[in-house]
Amino acid sequence: MTTKENATSPSVPMRYRTPRVMTTDELGLLANMADILIPPAGPYPSAAAQAGFTDLLPRALDARADAFDIIVTAIEAAPRDRDELEKYLRRMHDHEPESFQPLSAVLAEAWLLTPGVRDRIGYHGQQRHPAGLEDAANDLMDGILEPVLALDDETPLRWAR
């Protein structure tokens, strides 16, 4: 179940929102799941400990609001014990990929959207990078195409029968 904001074109998806805000308990369980999927490593904190994760989780949930019921069901069935929770996630991964996919994608994206992770991995979204005037020529200037042109000399138009 989702709520939708109106779109005017039949070809433009409506902007989905989750039908309700997650409870504190639900958000806590999601954070625990995120920390199992994305644990601390060396200097890097776990997902939920990453600054901004909690604020960005609702945005990620909105983006997959189509899977809200699946995610809530996964939360309701989740054990509270940490070790049992990991076994639960592993079981879901192996046997319920249709549930594990949206759950893990939402948690991963909330983490990937945090400024700290974006800076660390060097990804800030798909930004504008128009090519320079001579970039295309520069890519080929060192003769990298010459072997291909030599192929043609050896067997002219062998593909163009």
Binding site: S9, V12, P13, L37, D94, A105, Q126, L157, W159, R161
Partner: protein, 538 residues
């Protein structure tokens, strides 16, 4: 207000419909197009949002069964090895295409003569070349002249895109193996072209270009066509092409978004609804005189569906490759294995292309194919996402040979939002295609290895790609073994034409949109040339 009747009624505002409408309105015809979708603005696309990688999983999915927009209709794929995709809008699936723009090769037009399989096209590469050239000029194709895989003289109106770090490392691998490669050819302008912006390399071509820098048909054709007088009716789902007592098409019944029915009268009808939508409409248009569907005396409407099965191999490299940089598209293409070879245990071949792979979440999603928790999650996740800028994807289109058992039929149980029978796809990979997939994946592994990849991940079959929907109303000279003549005109109904990918005889393995444009241009010019005082046809 549109004329009544209009000279030409075009059904579908995708690539072929846009070319037909723009061409014929330019020739002075009164043209109306019925499109079940609507306009999509560059400002709408998911890449405008940071969470775009989540948005493309559902709301902006390639698959109509996942999106389930008002413009979409269900496609039942329960008996299909592939789940073909499409987008229903002004611009059609070109809204989502990667804008790869390779032509078919000369051998593609004579597969029967060369390889003893399938059928030859009713014309040659040389016959279609002028239309290819014209289409290139219309959309503003960027490419490097002189690709030796093609006959001499292949030139493009705009200079090529940079192949970038990824393209160079891919090219180096091909060179090491002694294989053909060439910088990618794309319908994405490297400089501002007409009303298209210069490519900003946002890298999300296959989910809509937020820059308006891709020659999707809405931008490349429809703005001009409408300004020239074409009437484009959106939100108009065609229920049935209507036929008069004289056996000629006389218009179409359609349903607006409020559910009201309309009839638009026309002197000629051109169906441009893609390789699934076109046979669906023809079959849905069955009438007492044509109980098996319109234009279907051959029984071939919906048969011979070809889908270009895809496989891909992701490579991870030591060096940063700017993996998020577009266009995507393709950086380079490899046509080394495009054609049949005597040492192969299959016929025909594959087009291989190296493409960027933008986004860390997309990388995670690709790795799900491994089905190994510890390879992606837990401590591994930090290394996985750190690889996002060091990845390069090789992907392959496999030539799909026509088989009558691969087909589009009407679903007896499923209907769309207007109660019209949905399309059902019955499709199985042939042994030839399976061998080709395996072969192509191995060759792409070879290239990655030659290029120095430190890790590779193979996806042996991409189940929901591509949107190449071909062959379901094939061209030919004989009414017994084809649906339309070499100019897209129905053998059965003299003023009914088809101009989309349905009319392909064989699929080649080149991405088909370029050829769809050329064919549509050829059909439209023929209609114009043979019409008599705009009473189409003479």
């Amino acid at each position: 207000m549109p004329n009544d009747p209009v000279d030409v009624l075009v059904i579908g505002a995708g690539p072929s419909g846009s070319v037909v409408a723009d061409t014929l309105v330019g020739e002075g015809f009164a043209v109306q197009c019925l499109e079940q979708g609507g306009w999509v603005s560059p400002a709408d696309f998911p890449a405008n949002y940071d969470e775009w990688e989540l948005l493309i999983q559902s709301q902006w999915s390639h698959h109509p069964n996942v999106r389930r927009l008002p413009s979409d209709y269900p496609v039942n794929t329960e008996d299909s090895d592939l789940s073909p995709v499409m987008f229903n809008a002004v611009g059609g699936t070109s809204i989502y295409f990667g804008a790869q723009w390779p032509r078919l090769l000369p051998s593609d037009f004579k597969v029967r003569s060369l390889d003893g399989v399938a059928d030859d096209w009713p014309f040659t590469y040389d016959d279609l070349a002028p239309y290819y050239d014209a289409a290139d000029r219309l959309v503003g194709v960027s490419g490097l002249d002189g690709n030796p895989a093609y006959p001499p003289g292949l030139e493009f109106p705009l200079p090529p895109h940079p192949i970038g770090k990824g393209g160079r490392i891919a090219a180096a691998g091909c060179n090491k193996l002694g294989w053909h490669w060439w910088p990618g050819t794309q319908a994405i302008p490297t400089t501002r072209f007409k009303n298209l912006a210069q490519c900003a390399r946002r890298g999300t071509c296959e989910w809509g270009c937020p820059e308006g820098a891709k020659a999707s048909s809405d931008l490349a054709f429809w703005t001009h066509a409408v300004q020239s007088g074409a009437v484009l009716t959106t939100g108009a789902r065609v229920r049935q092409i209507t036929v008069g007592r004289d056996g000629r098409a006389n218009g179409a019944m359609w349903i607006d978004r409020a559910g009201a029915e309309h009839h638009t009268r026309a002197n000629a009808v051109v169906v441009c609804a893609n390789g699934i939508g076109t046979p669906r409409l023809l079959l849905n248009s069955a009438c007492p005189g044509q109980p098996d569907g319109l234009a279907n005396s051959s029984g071939l409407v919906g048969k011979n569906l070809m889908l270009h099965p895809n496989c891909s191999v992701l490579g991870v490299y030591e060096e940063h490759l700017d993996s998020a940089l577009g266009p995507a598209g393709e950086l380079i293409e490899c046509l080394e294995f495009y054609d049949s070879r005597p040492d192969h245990d299959f016929v025909r071949g594959a087009k291989l292309h190296a493409v960027p792979f933008p986004g860390p979440l997309n990388l995670i999603e690709f790795l799900r194919a491994l089905n190994d928790f510890d390879a992606t999650w837990g401590p591994a996740i930090h290394d996985v996402v750190a690889q996002h800028s060091r990845t390069l994807l090789w992907a392959a289109n496999i030539e799909d040979l026509p088989e009558q058992t691969n087909e589009v039929v009407l679903d007896p149980n499923v209907t769309d939002g207007d109660g019209l029978p949905a399309a059902k796809v019955n499709y199985r990979l042939s042994d030839n295609s399976k061998k080709l997939l395996k072969f192509a994946a191995q060759r792409m592994l070879d290239i990655h290895e030659a290029s120095g990849a430190v890790r590779t991940v193979t996806l042996p079959l991409v189940p929901d790609q591509p949107g190449h929907l071909l062959g379901t109303a094939r061209m030919g000279t004989e009414p017994t073994n084809s649906v339309v003549d070499p100019y897209g005109r129905s053998h059965d109904i003299p003023n009914l034409y088809i101009a989309d990918g349905s009319i392909f005889v064989t699929s080649g393995s080149a991405n088909p949109t370029c050829t769809i444009h050329a064919l549509a241009l050829r059909v439209a010019r023929h209609i114009a040339a043979t019409a008599n005082s705009h009473q189409v046809p003479a």
